[in-house]
């Protein structure tokens, strides 16, 4: 750090003009006062005494006193300057070390001469192991990549390029502090030059961690990608049925019903996309009014009966709570619960849509089903696209927009997906 601060201080020689003037004025004053002191005392001594020996002794004593006083003055000034410099050094170090972003300082030899604690945390390494690294060593240690996966060669590091190019330079890269952890950073490198046009004495590289934003952005892209792919299956079914009808090889009735079912599937997907995208843009609006939850569940149960489902859908209405809600959004929520349960249930086992009121202030709706045992269930990985995560996200969003919560639990061979909403008490009615 002392090397870095020393070089840093040299950079302030741009302000050397004014500093030199101060030094010159101080020295001139010092010389003037000294000269005045010698001349004045000389005249005074010669006026008071005629004895040359006495005059010489007194002059010698006075000059020693002068040396003593000036030494004391120089000591005081030097001490104060040292204290000021130390304070500036401490403040500078404290400021750099308190910065939340990672700061790396590179010296003239292009190696790292300083790393702040945030850099050590970000890179999951001790400061001592970071200091001294060359660009090639840094590249090997942290496998630096562009977000598209291309490796960033050491020559392409902004902290290296800024030694020869006009800065500041910026880019976004992915670092790998450990095998399993990656950090996406927005990095800015600036050259610190002793004077304009001079080669950089130092390069300061600041790395801002944008991993959470990047993850959010990737999740959104994945949602869109998953929705786009989930649309392909219903479109495939509609297209094939239209072709069958056109050929006249199929009785049109079943084909029309299949088309109708797949249109409803597309509609549900689009509704979920709208809910999620509006929630993300903070523009989700509810057209809320008093409604009986049992009625919404009952209507969806009637609707799903017309579909060809691998499970029988039953209803169990043990209470009739009234909530303040948006009928259309709650209908989407119930369809999602039902769809998710059917997808995860043992084929042929019943799925039960229920409404209950656990307490005066809470209305609950949900779905109970017998889940496929985990050892028998295989997951899709990335080989195809499923709209379940999108439906799950939309359900959570709708529940929370109504002041409620969405959860799941399992007991024995039964799993439950539930949504709890605030129930309207009788005295609130009409409020």
């Amino acid at each position: 750090m002392s090397v870095a601060i020393g070089d840093w201080a040299a950079c302030f020689s741009r302000r050397g003009g004014s500093l030199r003037r101060v030094a010159l004025v101080t020295a001139t004053w010092f010389a003037a006062v000294g000269a005045l002191w010698i001349v004045a005392l000389d005249l005074l001594l010669r006026a008071r005494s005629r004895d040359p020996v006495m005059v010489a002794r007194l002059e010698s004593t006075i000059h020693w006193a002068f040396i003593l006083i000036t030494s004391a003055a120089v000591y005081t000034i030097a001490y104060r300057i040292a204290v000021q410099l130390k304070r500036m050094h401490d403040v500078t170090v404290a400021v750099v070390e308190s910065i939340g972003d990672a700061v790396l300082v590179l010296g003239r030899d292009r190696t790292i001469v300083y790393a702040n604690p945030a850099a050590a945390r970000m890179l999951d390494a001790k400061t001592e192991t970071i200091v001294g690294l060359t660009a090639a060593e840094f590249s090997r240690r942290f496998l630096v990549q562009y977000p598209n996966g291309m490796v960033v060669t050491p020559d392409e590091f902004v902290a290296q390029r800024v030694f020869t190019e006009q800065g500041p330079l910026r880019y976004k890269v992915v670092l790998h502090p450990t095998e399993r952890r990656e950090v996406v950073v927005r990095s800015t490198a600036s050259a610190v030059r002793p004077r304009p046009g001079a080669p950089p004495a130092l390069v300061v590289s600041v790395m801002h961690d944008v991993t959470p934003n990047e993850n959010l952005s990737r999740m959104r892209d994945r949602f869109l990608s998953s929705a786009a792919h989930a649309l392909k299956t219903p479109v495939a079914i509609i297209k094939a049925n239209v072709q069958l009808i056109a050929r006249g090889e199929e009785v049109a009735g079943p084909s029309f019903q299949a088309i109708e079912r797949q249109c409803a599937r597309i509609d549900r997907l689009v509704q979920n996309l709208m809910v999620v995208s509006r929630a993300r843009s903070h523009s989700l609006r509810l057209h809320a009014h008093r409604l009986a939850l049992a009625q919404v569940v009952h209507e969806i149960a009637l609707e799903v009966v017309t579909m060809r489902l691998p499970s029988e859908v039953r209803t169990e209405i043990s209470a009739s709570p009234v909530v303040y809600g948006d009928t259309e959004r709650l209908a989407t929520l119930v369809r999602n619960l039902c769809g998710e349960a059917i997808g995860a249930a043992v084929r042929g086992s019943p799925v039960t849509l229920y409404v209950s009121q656990p307490d005066r202030m809470t209305a609950e709706l949900g779905v109970r089903y017998q889940p496929i045992p985990i050892p028998e269930r295989t997951f899709s990985g990335d080989e195809d696209y499923d709209d379940t995560p999108l439906a799950h996200c939309a359900t959570t969003t709708i529940a929370e927009a109504h002041g409620g919560t969405f959860g799941e639990e399992s007991a024995g061979t039964t799993a439950t997906l539930w949504v709890r909403l605030p129930a309207i008490e009788e005295h609130d009615v009409g409020a």
């Binding site: 792919h229 297209k239 049925n241 299949a258």
Partner: protein, 123 residues
Amino acid sequence: MSAPDDILIVDDDPDMSDVVKSALEAEGYACRTVANGREALDEVAREKPALVLLDMLMPVMNGRECAHELRRDYGASIPIIVMTAAEHAEARRAELDADGVLAKPFDLDQLVRAVKSQLERER
């Protein structure tokens, strides 16, 4: 007259299975349908089909797992055509060691052509 080729359609969406079945039966093939990979393996064990049309995303056992099990137990003796909504369908086919691939949404003509040419190759 020889018995029609027997095709096993593996898809959890009955609307998809039905439309594929109708199109193939109109071409003279005999079709069986099952809803997931596990049922497909049971059905193949019961009676080996001439060809398997395999969806990818299914509960219980997905298409990837099913394709691996079929290859492990029967080698290349059962041709597999994968039906997928994924991007890079051809890469998916190679990855699963399948004989053919149909990228959704596909034409019925494409389906029939793929099945016909695969079965002819097997003869």
